[in-house]
Amino acid sequence: MTAVLLEVQGLRKSFGGVAALDEASFVVEEGSITALIGPNGAGKTTAFNAISGFLKPDAGTIRFAGRRIEGLRNDLVARAGLVRAFQSPRVLTRMSVMDNMLLAGKDQPGERLSLTWLAPRRVASRELEVHRRALDLLELLRLLPLAEAYAGTLSGGQRKLLELGRALMVEPRMILLDEPMAGVAPVLAEQLLEHIRRLRAERGVTFCVIEHDMDVVMSVSDRVIVMDEGRVIAEGTPDAIQRSERVIEAYLGRFAPASATPGGAP
């Protein structure tokens, strides 16, 4: 049994009178690919925003690698090893693909202006390491030929790949992907899935993925969390989830015909 890497307990967040998150609780195991699914408005993206520090939750606790991170500033969450990607990829369009990658490199002494002048060697040697890592990742993601292109010239799918690469530059333990397959050409989507599997296998990166495509969810994930109306209504293996009556209800409505429920409650 693997250890729990991320533990969300009783997370609440309301916008005006609407509870986007209503006591949501779930765990993500270290080294897993966990899918977060649910109908529109279930609170999946809000949960991601709260976990990654882009939104302050009203109540609840978030524990990452044993450390409480709820309400922590977004950049500190990333530095703790929990990096997110956005639903519509936010690449820095008027910078080169390579600069997008280099920017994200962690522990760069050159980010302090004083050290650029006082410790140029230290800055240069770290820059070299960061550059090497960026080259490796670009090669892995098959973006190397585009390294010097403006990120703004990339297709939607390539942008998602770049965003994944940029997240990996931070050397994270866990990556949150918000609908990585949405709007991506089928060939690139297949590639992206392959990368996720490989990164988990070879580098031990944990993934939590919001996804709507059920075929993808069932093929790539080892655990599935189902949300509806701000709560987690089911958690389990893809097989168990597919047979869960509550899940089918949430997706198809309460009075689904009997023929739509192949199994029974797990």
Binding site: D75, A78, V83, V91, R94, E111, T116, V170
Partner: protein, 326 residues
């Protein structure tokens, strides 16, 4: 006026250099970090007032007073930046517009502190003429004398000032060139493009923005000191918001997001602005001088509109980059 009067052009060169330094400050804030600062002139005002008050009233040595002036500019940057830089860019824009005007109106309405509407000359109260740039002029004269020795011809005080200011511009351009290519500059450009994306990879966006705002304020403060020393007397009217927009013009005219475009833009702007003063030949000489002054400002505006229509990327800008959507 004589087109070939060297004294006139030397003066224009000094002012162009000072505008270049002012615009380099805006370059760090606006072009690198994407901070819309519409009160840039306030940093000039604060540094020159602080310097002049300390020199005139408290006989503080010039270099120390100049340092205090820059500290004043930094403090203003912190006051404007700390509450607004965590918010959307619009709030900084509003705060800086207001901040700029507040500084000017304070200078106008606190005569006991600032000399009031008459400006620096009234710093010692009515009936006395206050001067703050004696040390600077003495320093320039020594510098001009040693330059004369080197080139073997008389170098005027303004020429010495122009050389000094432009050497300083050169040093600043080199320093910023290196800084913007450092990881620090990369983070600032990233913030300009999309600060959420930069925060998502673990960078403290607020701290970087505050650094950019402060560095820009220091450069504007230096420009303020140099301008005050150069013109000898100043009043609140010298710190109108138009000065901030001249700096924007220089940044845009030269070419957005390109460092070398700043000195080029400063020269182009000064030629356009001062050069049109010389449009006094036939048939323009038929128009009386008052209308001609008006025509001149019209022409400056017209040329700028024309440039933006034909070359929206400015003189040295990168069109390809400009056309990419954010």
């Amino acid at each position: 006026m004589d087109v070939l009067n060297p004294a006139f052009w030397t003066f224009v060169a000094v002012i162009a250099g000072i505008y270049a330094i002012l615009s380099l400050g805006l370059y760090v804030q606006f072009s690198l970090a994407g901070l819309p600062n519409f009160g840039h002139v306030a940093f000039m005002a604060v540094s020159s007032y602080t310097m002049a008050i300390l020199v005139v009233r408290y006989a503080v040595p010039m270099p120390l007073a100049a340092g205090a002036g820059l500290v004043g500019a930094v403090l203003l940057a912190l006051v404007l930046g700390i509450p607004t830089l965590r918010l959307r860019a619009d709030y900084l824009a509003i705060a800086t517009v207001a901040g700029g005007e507040i500084v000017r109106y304070l200078a106008m309405n606190l005569p006991d502190v600032t000399g009031g509407p008459v400006g620096s000359i009234g710093l010692l109260g009515p009936g006395q003429i206050a001067l703050y740039n004696g040390d600077w002029l003495a320093f320039l004269d020594r510098f001009a004398a040693s330059l004369s020795g080197i080139v073997g011809a008389r170098v005027s005080r303004d020429a010495a000032s122009a050389i000094l200011v432009w050497c300083f511009v050169g040093v600043l351009v080199l320093a910023l060139w290196r800084s913007e290519r450092s990881p620090w500059g990369r983070v600032l450009k990233g913030i300009r493009e999309d600060e959420a994306a930069v925060a998502a990879v673990g960078k403290n966006v607020f701290a970087f923005k505050l650094q950019a705002l402060t560095l820009g304020a220091i450069l504007a403060g230096i420009a303020g000191l140099l301008l005050a020393w150069q013109i000898g007397v100043f009043s609140p009217e010298d710190y109108q918001p138009t000065l901030t927009f001249y700096a924007y013009l220089i940044v845009i005219l030269g070419g957005m997001n390109r460092l070398l475009a700043i000195p080029v833009g400063a020269v182009a702007f000064s030629l356009l602005y001062s050069g049109t003063r010389l449009l006094n030949f036939f048939p323009l000489s038929l128009i009386d001088s008052g209308s001609r002054a008006f025509l001149r400002l019209f022409l400056v505006g017209f040329l700028l509109v024309l440039l933006m229509a034909v070359r929206p990327e400015g003189m040295l800008g990168n069109r390809k980059e400009l056309l990419l959507e954010k």
